[in-house]
Each structure stands twice: as C-alpha cells, then as structure tokens.
C-alpha cells in the first residue's frame, strides 16, 4: 500500500511558545475539549428541561434512543447491534457516530487538518470501537470485568502490529481530544453531594486513606524504586489507589503521560482487578469478617467500580450496598486528584530546577486547560443536583440517558487510537525490570492494610451502630 508522507497528515498545532490567547481558544485541543464537552452537556441538559416532567414527575431525555452503544449478548454477536423487530442499538450507535464525527471533525478542522482527510480514518476508528464494544458486551466477558477499554486497546494494537496503521487513518488518531472531551463529560457525573452518602465512615475510608496511599505509592516509586518516568508512576499510583481505569485516564491527561504508560497502567489494573474480585470475597468469608466491614474493604481497594459491585454481591446484599457506596465516594475523588496532579506537575515536575519559580503566566500556559472544564462541569452539575427543584431527576436523566453514552464512546475511540499508535516493543520496554508491577503490588499491599484498618476502626469500633443498621 502506498502511503502519503507523514507530514501530509500531521495536525497543525500552534507551537508552545506562540501562546496567542485567541488562537489557543480556537485551535488547541484542550480548549476544544471544553467547548465540545460543554456544548454536549448544555444541549443534553436543555433537551431534558424542555421535555419537562412526565407523569409521576420523572424526567427523560429525548436523545435516549438516539444515543446507544452495542448491547449485551450471549451467543449471537449481531444481536448486540441489531435485533429484528426488537430493541436495536443501531440507530443509537449511528446517532453517537454523527455527534462524534461532527464535533471532533470541527475540532480537527479548527486545528488545521482537512475535515475530508479526517472522515475516512474516523470511520475506521469508530468501527474498531464498535468491535471492541461488541467483544466487551459478551455476557461472560462482561461478568469478569474485562471492560471495553481493554478490547479497544487490543483492537488498535492488533491492526498496528500486524498490517500497520494506514496513513489515511492517522488524522483521526486524536487520543488527547477524545479523552479530554470524555473527561469534561465525566465531570458532570462527579457529584459532590454523594460524598456524604455513607457519612463520616465513608469519608474516612474513601477520602482519607486513598490520598495517603496515592502519595505514599508515588513517593515509593520515585524514591525507592526510582522509576524513570514520574508520569508512569503517577498513573499507576492513581489507578491503583483511586478507581481504576477512570482515574488512570484522568491523571494520565492531567500529568501528560505517554500513551504507552496509560495502556500499561490499565493492563496491570485490569489484571489485578480480576484476581481481587475473586480472591477478596473468599478471604473475607474464610476469615469470618462481617459483610459490612468486608464490603467497605473491597470498596476501598478493588480498582474497578463494576468489579467492586460484583465482588460485593458475592458476599451478600449489605456488602454490595456498602462496597458500591464506598467506591462511589472514591469515584468522586478523581476530580480533586486530577486537579491536584495537574497543579503539582506544572509547579514541580515540569519545572526546571535551575530556573526561577515560574510566574502565573507560565503556570497558566502549561496548565492542562481541559481540567477547568472537568471541574466546572462537576461544580455546575453538583449545584444543580443539590439546589434545583427536581435537580436529581434532571441531572440523572441528562447523564444516564445521553451524556454517559457519549462519554463511553469517546473513551473507547481514545483507546482504539492509543492501540493504533502503539507498538508492542514500545509497550514492552516499560515492563523491563518489572518496576511497574512491583510498584502496583507494594502500593496495593499498603492500600489493603490501611483500608482494612480504617474500615475496621470506622465500622466496627467508632460507628458500630451504623454497621448494625446496615446489616439488618
């Protein structure tokens, strides 16, 4: 296959030095992620509000049937997409495709890439994302937490490491744009009122232990293991201590991690998640630990949100409720973690030690702007959820029936893009010496000990009455 020269497809991004404010607002992917994410949130929210409350006071989104991902299937993969005479995902998938093509197409065109050269590649990336979703939605695969991020990476890696990624696809490999836009949408799901769902014990287990583990693991990686890449260290530390793939995505974008580093962190996390979701309930049962304590322990330590619920269910309803609620409270932490990591990176990691302290202008230039969109979406939707009449119903309808689906597609497109840009040899070099694995194992061991200690203190000693009520 004859390929055009690489420079024919490269994106035109303004050089770092040429920080012309107006140009950046219109051309940089960080700002486009904010515009796109903000526009999608605004349109979806307006649609719910304009539709008004239905009978019984429930709200719904008119976009629900026009935005979908492939559905669950058992033995016929086609039924994931198309069901004759039944509920088919196809119109919703086409709707998501049109929204993504139009939005991202406008962004890349503003960045200097021809829209026509973006379309072909985007179709293939979207097709591979669909393939990844179909693989992930097989019910056995789904039941063991082997989520779409993994299959999207694999689908991309398969192409790039066999026939090679065709040059015409490259204008559509916009990992940063897809991830950051998805993160702005995810911001709307970070609702601070949920922080108090479990009261003081939940805060202590999820918001006190988690940052301690995150900082200790990062310090251990830098000072003891001497991991060469601080961003790899941070992404592994965050995905292990906070909430798996979603935390890895947010911190990777905040500390500008390499795509291979994000892939590696997710691979390690998913592998250990599968092990922990099977082993932890067995250990809790074998030791005779109470279900509430066991649930809190699993909620604070198993990386992936879905795996926490699955493991909690194995022990019983009360363990499921506590585990999922602790994990939900921990999920909310990713906004704070992403913001703090971005600030820390700009102020300390990227700073030249011999140079004077960077001024406000320099900090602003380096700061990943999409974080502002992520935080703003979180604050606005949290305020609406808590203060608006029918706020919870309106916010839930907006997220669950429209933006959540698009967020999933955008992350899936990002992981396909990462796979298409990654070579196995590049990925393998990060595992050399086994330091990332040692970091994960040591950090997770600390996490298991500290979380168990804190959960025991909170649920068995200080708030034992709450434990009795939860167990009833």
């Amino acid at each position: 296959m004859s390929e055009p020269p690489v420079d024919a497809v490269e994106e035109v991004e303004p050089p770092a030095g040429a920080d012309d404010g107006g140009s950046q607002l219109l051309r940089s992917e960080d700002w486009w992620a904010i515009w796109l994410g903000g526009a999608i949130l605004a349109v979806c929210l307006a649609a719910v509000l304009l539709s008004g409350a239905r009978d019984g006071g429930a709200y719904g989104s008119p976009f629900k049937s026009w935005l979908a991902k492939p559905g669950s299937w058992s033995d016929d993969p086609l039924s994931s997409i198309y069901v004759a005479g039944g509920k088919s995902s196809l119109p919703g998938m086409l709707g998501a495709f049109v929204v993504a093509l139009a939005g991202f197409g406008a962004a890349v065109a503003a960045g200097g890439t021809r829209f026509t050269s973006f379309i072909g590649g985007f179709c293939l990336v979207f097709l591979l994302a669909t393939f990844a979703y179909v693989l992930a939605e097989q019910e056995v695969i789904n039941a063991y937490n082997l989520e779409y991020a993994l299959w999207a990476l694999v689908a991309g890696l398969l192409i790039s490491n066999t026939i090679g990624t065709p040059a015409w696809v490259r204008p559509a490999l916009r990992t940063e744009l897809y991830i950051k836009t998805g993160l702005v949408l995810l911001g709307a799901e970070v609702l601070f009122s949920r922080l108090l769902s479990l009261g003081v014990p939940g805060i202590f287990v999820a918001w006190v232990v988690t940052p301690v583990v995150l900082v200790s693991t990062y310090w251990f990686g830098q000072k003891i293991l001497k991991i060469a890449s601080p961003s790899l260290n941070m992404v592994i530390s965050a995905d292990m201590s906070v909430c798996g793939v979603s935390a890895a995505i947010a911190t990777a974008a905040a500390c500008k991690a390499k795509k291979e580093e994000l892939s590696l962190a997710i691979g390690i996390s998913l592998t250990f998640t599968v092990v922990m979701m099977v082993v932890m309930p067995a250990v809790i049962e074998a030791t005779g630990m109470s279900n509430v304590l066991g649930g809190a322990w699993m909620g604070g330590t198993i990386d992936a949100t879905g795996a926490v619920a699955a493991a909690g269910e194995f022990l019983g309803e009360e363990a499921l409720h506590v585990a999922a609620t602790v994990k939900m409270i921990q999920n909310i932490l990713i906004g704070v973690v992403a913001f703090c990591v971005a600030v820390y990176w700009v102020l300390f990691v990227e700073r030249d030690p011999s140079a004077p302290r960077p001024g406000v202008g320099e900090i602003w230039r380096r700061f990943p702007k999409f974080i502002l969109g992520f935080v703003a979406a979180s604050i606005i939707f949290s305020l609406m959820y808590s203060n608006m009449i029918d706020g919870p119903a309106i916010v839930d309808a907006t997220i669950k029936e429209s933006t959540k689906t698009l967020r999933g597609w955008f992350f899936c497109l990002a992981f396909v893009s990462i796979g298409l840009e990654t070579n196995f040899r590049e990925l393998a070099q990060y595992l050399r010496g086994g330091k990332p694995l040692v970091l994960y194992l040591c950090g997770q061991s600390l996490n298991l000990c500290l979380t168990l200690l804190m959960a025991w203190l909170m649920f068995e000693v200080v708030f034992s009455d709450l434990t009795k009520s939860l167990a009833q």
Binding site: V6, T162, K404, L470
Partner: protein, 97 residues
Amino acid sequence: MSERIDQTVVTEQRGRSGGWPTLAVVLLAVAVIWGVVLPRLGEQPAVRARIERFERQGIEPAALFYSDLPAMSHWEAEVARARAECSEKLGESGAGR
C-alpha cells in the same frame, strides 16, 4: 512532547509482525473464542447463575464509574435508610437517658 498523550504529530508505526496472515489468524481465534467457547462457557450452571444474579441485582460488572451501575441509586437509598435508622436509634437512646 511528541510521545505524550497530548501529542499531535503521529509517528510512523514500526515493527509489524506477519501482516495480513497474522491478522487473519488472530481474527479467526477471536471468532472461535467469542463465537463458540464463550457462549458454551456461559451455559455452565455456575457461570449462568452468576450472570443471572448480576442481571437481577442491576450489577454491571464492567462499569467504569458509579453512574454506569444501573442499581446504584437503589443501593444508595438502602444505605441512607440504614443511616436514618441508626440516627433514630441514637436519638431515642439519647432521649431515654
């Protein structure tokens, strides 16, 4: 910056192993695993029971975020009920003293 997530210039892919024949073999393996092996595994009583339990409870084991769990609001309500009960009991025992 060129290798970072926010990279915008895509580098040429290196190192391809096998090309089309390898891709065909892997796709065939995927078809066999997802088309034959996994559906059969899903029919095993233990696996089937697990899948059905998850469906019944509204658990999405591959959820990325809490908002991906269909029954999260229900579980949150159960926890809130237990907290309210606990506060009530503490209030009663405080008033009785």
